[in-house]
């Protein structure tokens, strides 16, 4: 593969679009030769940093004695906020509320207050513990349950979405109910923790290798922190060992401190926090409390919905504004709310500042919607699936056109949820199993089964419209090999290989001829985070654009040189037909070079059609929607709350997939991660405001043995993107995460069986065995109480 010889007679190229091309680094992953930042050879004299973390949830530092830290073996420097030469702030939205190293005010337990730079990582870690810090304690709040969503302190302005008159619709509805749902947060648990390696250069220059989804932002933050222009800072990342949103903004802190120390000491500085510090000092998925009120009729038609989404944001805004906005954008999931009012409350708490995580508030928004559906189903005594189908958007006919408008006034134009759900209901044999489970439960004393089928409709695009742009850089070398670079980052999702497939397809050359190169701010500037499921859509288009520019030049050149019409020039696998002759791609390239044709191009793309007016709560924030559905069955132990997932069936769509193997991995992995969020992954703070689940020994992500015992995943083969996306494929990064909801609702269904499905279990998330058992106890007690009366 190193010396690939293209087959000039091939009927098709290797690794074009719509092939199951393996991950570009798979062979390196399995052999341990894929280089992550901590695996790079260190420059001579590299120093290592460790952050000193506050051990109070809220308070003022009254004294900080770091003399023992400075005197510890191997320590080269100790830094505090005063040592930041530029701005001591890494707020990604310009709100100036997030110091790199806080000066006097501590706002969460674990907030970085100083940094130790030492000859070894071990020396830095040991020295960190020698600090003597005294505080004057201030009152703190960690749990948003103690706060008033409409009156307490917010970290960023809230959003209201409104369509119709929800209050009136609810008041005049035949039936109405209200309730509250608690939804837990989630740690990313990327296997590779945060890391930054800063290497000082001449002048003001510094190069930072940062495990980040957003190199441009790291570049900007480092330049602000150093007080130097962006041109002095280069940020590079070849691959992350997982990101999931946890490296969208959270890399900034480590990169900034490493860069400051590197410039100050003129030596390379690496900071790799241990797992506990990583989980303590970096943000997570937002916990939410959803207060809902719904008006409906006896059939289960929902007439009006009033929702308040209160989020634990932590001490600073970070991305909490867009995250809580996206929660509201998904307060409908796949359902048409005839009248709706939804309000966000991004609440200030004395906890680490919460951040992006796969779905970006969308999952919390959706599961609030699903709770509303469940409530109506229990209230009307119907199967929740029936209520779901009854309230879907559409169908897409003129007669029902008014059932397609979202709470943010965008019309759903590409709705395929009906067909997705109908096909899954059929393939999962829902109706028969529903009856089987009822029969089983009637005869089983200790074990109860539950079943649920839940849909996903997820909006694709950054809601910050300006983020929906991308750049790429493509070079064709004179031997016909291609160098590909773009602004997207690789965190395991297969972005690099998908974009390489696009470029291979464009030039009609084998993918082995395309070299995928590390993302760096020096090649493609002003990039957006690789986030919002946008990676392939944006960067694939930008790379295609770059390749087309070069191709167009080659066509013009060939048309001129061979005196044929441009339409007589066709790119065939590894060769080009020019009139009646075929020549190797590499040969044409070489000829073009000698004719002084530019063989390099910068490509660009911006998503069309989207706009959003946040003040009005109206617009077209999403280019399109991605759809899927899942059906899960669980068994629950009524003595302990322990459970297993017996079976899950998934039908998900990714348009005309660029790579079904990669997409399948995203769907399977997203589902399991979503299931983990709603089941065993529990963040727990103690009465001192300390996060006590900060390592895998205490924070439990799913294992292989937590997979559904039967797991049928199907990629719908019939959809293609409604919009002209890259080869009519659709985004797949985030949407499958929310397929995990079916497990949560199946657990809820099993819980409900102990009260004969007469009471909505109001199960909170995560549904740990404890929450499942306690919910069953509550229902049993309610039934007993009712029967006594």
């Amino acid at each position: 593969m190193n010396n690939h010889t293209p087959d000039l007679k091939a009927a098709a190229i290797k690794g074009g679009v719509a092939t199951d091309q393996r991950h570009d680094s798979a062979h390196k992953h399995v052999s341990g030769t894929a280089v992550y930042i901590d695996d790079m050879p260190e420059p001579a004299g590299t120093l290592h940093g460790c952050l000193g973390l506050a051990d109070i949830a809220h308070g003022t530092i009254t004294s900080m004695d770091l003399s023992a830290v400075r005197a510890a073996p191997g320590v080269v420097a100790v830094m505090t906020g005063a040592d930041v030469p530029g701005e001591n702030d890494i707020s990604p939205t310009g709100r100036h509320d997030e110091p790199i190293l806080t000066d006097t005010l501590v706002q969460f337990h674990g907030q970085p207050i100083f940094a130790v730079i030492a000859e070894s990582r071990e020396a830095a870690r040991r020295a960190c513990r020698l600090a003597k810090v005294e505080y004057e304690a201030l009152p703190f709040v960690t749990d948003i349950g103690e706060l008033d969503p409409l009156n307490d302190k917010l970290v960023t302005p809230p959003l209201t979405l409104k369509r119709g008159n929800a209050a009136e619709a609810i008041a005049t509805a035949p039936r109405r109910l209200s309730g509250r749902m608690r939804i837990g947060g989630q740690d990313h648990f990327y296997l590779e923790g945060h890391i930054a390696l800063a290497i000082p250069g001449e002048d003001q220059d510094v190069t930072v290798y940062s495990s980040t989804q957003h190199p441009s932002e790291v570049q900007h933050m480092v330049s602000y922190a150093l007080g130097v222009p962006s041109h002095a800072v280069t940020v590079e990342i070849r691959r992350m060992g997982g990101g999931f949103g946890g490296k969208e903004t959270q890399s900034n802190q480590f990169a900034a401190i490493a860069a400051i120390a590197a410039k100050k000491l003129n030596r390379a500085v690496k900071i790799r926090p241990d797992r506990d510090d990583d989980m303590t000092a970096t943000g997570k998925r937002h916990d939410f409390l959803v207060d809902y009120e719904v008006g409906f009729d006896g059939e289960g038609n929902i007439l009006g919905v009033d929702l308040v989404y209160a989020a634990r944001c932590g001490f600073s805004s970070d991305l909490s504004g867009p995250v809580t906005d996206r929660a509201l954008f998904h307060c409908d999931n796949a359902y048409f709310w005839p009248a709706v009012k939804a309000v966000s409350a991004p609440l200030y708490t004395n906890t680490v500042s919460n951040t992006a995580f796969r779905g970006f508030g969308g999952p919390q928004g959706m599961i609030g919607a699903e709770r509303v559906i469940d409530e109506v189903a229990f209230a009307t005594g119907k199967d929740p699936l029936e209520i779901r189908k009854l309230n879907f958007y559409g169908p897409n006919s003129d007669k029902n056109g008014d059932r397609n408008v979202t709470p943010y006034h965008q019309t759903v134009e590409d709705n395929i949820v009906h067909r997705i759900v109908a096909e899954l209901e059929e393939s999962a044999d829902y109706a028969r199993r529903r009856r089987q489970i009822a029969a089983f439960n009637a005869n089983s004393r200790f074990i109860k089964r539950g079943l649920a089928l839940t849909p996903v409709k997820f909006g694709i695009s950054f809601t910050a419209t300006h983020y929906n742009q991308a750049g790429a850089l493509v070079h064709v070398y004179t031997d016909g090999s291609v160098h590909l670079n773009h602004g997207g980052t690789e965190m395991g999702q297969g972005l690099y290989v998908k974009v390489a497939q696009v470029v291979a397809e464009e030039f009609q050359i084998d993918i082995d001829q395309v070299k995928i190169t590390a993302t760096t701010t020096g090649k493609v500037p002003n990039t957006s985070a690789t986030a919002a499921s946008s990676g392939s859509d944006l960067n694939g288009m930008a790379a295609q654009n770059a390749a087309r520019q070069i191709k167009d030049r080659l066509v013009d050149f060939a048309a001129d040189k061979f005196q044929v019409a441009a339409d007589q020039i066709v790119f065939l696998p590894n060769r080009v037909r020019i009139g009646n002759q075929e020549i190797a791609f590499a040969d044409l390239v070489k000829m073009a070079y000698f004719a002084r044709i530019q063989l390099s191009a910068a490509g660009f793309y911006k998503t069309p059609k989207i706009h959003w007016d946040r003040d009005k709560g109206e617009g077209h924030p999403f280019y399109y929607f991605a759809y899927g559905a899942s059906c899960s069955e669980v068994s629950v132990d009524t003595l302990t709350g322990e459970y297993v997932v017996e079976r899950t069936d998934i039908l998900h769509e990714t348009g005309r997939s660029l790579n079904r193997a990669i997409d399948l991995g995203q769907i399977e992995g997203g589902f399991i991660q979503g299931m983990g969020w709603l089941t065993t992954e529990e963040l727990w703070w103690d009465d001192k405001g300390r996060l006590r689940t900060h390592a895998p020994s205490t924070y439990k992500i799913p294992l292989a043995s937590d997979r559904p015992k039967i797991f049928n995943v199907t990629l719908a083969d019939w959809p293609e993107a409604f919009e002209p996306t890259i080869h009519r494929s659709k985004a797949v990064g985030e949407p499958p995460f929310m397929l995990g909801m079916s497990v949560f609702h199946a657990l809820s269904d099993a819980v409900a069986s102990v009260a004969d499905h007469r009471i909505c279990p109001r199960l909170d998330a995560p549904a740990t065995p404890e929450r499942v058992l306690m919910a069953m106890e509550r229902l049993k007690a309610e039934v007993a109480g009712v029967s006594k009366r």
Binding site: A26, G242, R275, A695, T698
Partner: protein, 491 residues
Amino acid sequence: MVETRSHIRFLLNGDEITLSDAKPDETLLDFLRLRRALRGSKEGCAEGDCGACTVLVGRLSGGDLVYESVNGCIRFLASLDGCHVVTVEHLNGEGGSLHPVQQAMVDFHGSQCGFCTPGFVMSLYALWMRTPEPSDAAIEKALQGNLCRCTGYEAIIRAARAISSYGKAANDPLAVERAAVTERLSVLRDGARVEIGTGKERLVIPADVDDLAEILITEPNATIVSGSTDVGLWVTKFMRDIAPAVFIGNLEGLRGISETDGVLSIGAGVSYTEAHAVLARHIPALGTLIDRIGGEQVRNMGTIGGNIANGSPIGDTPPPLIALGASITLRKGAERRTLPLEDFFIAYGKQDRAPGEFVEAVHVPLPGADVKFAAYKVTKRRDEDITSTLGAFRLELTSDGTVTAIRVAYGGMAATPKRAKAVEAALLGKPWTEATMEAALAAYAEDFTPLTDMRASAEYRALAGRNLLLRFFAETSGFAGPIQVSRNEAA
């Protein structure tokens, strides 16, 4: 007088390594990554939970060469004296060709971000050598100690099922070179005591158990390191100094299992994996329980002796052993004493072990055919999780169903592993009926006042804990329907 040397020796992939500067708290992973530039093995957690650091360690066990997966992040270098360390780099063939395990992982799209992948490859490698055609249950068990956050595991399982179609385990280099490596290791295992460093850098590897006893007389406050699944975290998480450290993992004299007059004696150095093989045969419930302690790597390293000696209130083996009426032998110098296991646990963090004394063996009276025994572990996540509550029950009934003997012990419910004596009293002499259970449930409050922490609330511990008695009753009274959820049988 024993022979001594002042260096450790082991095989690393194909090379023989001699180190006279090993530190007592130096981990294998740091050694590989920092000193040998073998960076295929990763640090994901530094506490033996995620498996990104998984390597194989081959060791002689009764003359046989056994390769086991271990967590390099909490395995101390000194414990590898006389062993063969195999890292992911050893799998790579000539000219970049991939090993069957690796090729299967590539072809079935078993990696995404790739950071956990070398660890998965090594765990699957160990499985494949032992069981070339594994069941799905065997694959899941082999992967209990490996976390992947990207794939959802499905693709990895597909790869694992297919490995044998890529090559035969019998042709693997480790199989082919077995005799030669056995020979090399037996030369390295010269029976000498190893002593390296002084003060905070002092480590000792005793020549044998008698030598250990002698060393502990002169250095009674030494840290005894066996499987290092707990002591490893003292270093990686708390940066505690463990010197002088005495490494006992190699002592064959502590690794024996013998049966005499219906009592199984298990040496303090017997790993969970080794104990499982014997215990599961005699007491199936213990086999099932051990399968849920840590992951495979931790079970290959951790010992029942260590699980007892560290005195944790959430150790998983003390409650069932107490219920079974086990005793332990402690040794100091040449003196030995044996006491009931339940008496060893005095209070939180305090055990009946004098300076210089060490746990030598645990003795388990095997329950007869008429004894009913069960141990139930309740956790947030089914596998590789630490106990919220664990109940163990040993019951004898007369032919008419009256309780003649009952022992109930719990973990996670008090400051130590503890018997539920009020519950036992409520059951003893009573008919084994649902009505008796109801009365016994009320006695739990006398026995236990559990705490709330990140694993479970006090209320949940109390409720789920006492419900385990109902489960035990159902299982011992001919209840026909399903009583527990099961991973292994499809619904």
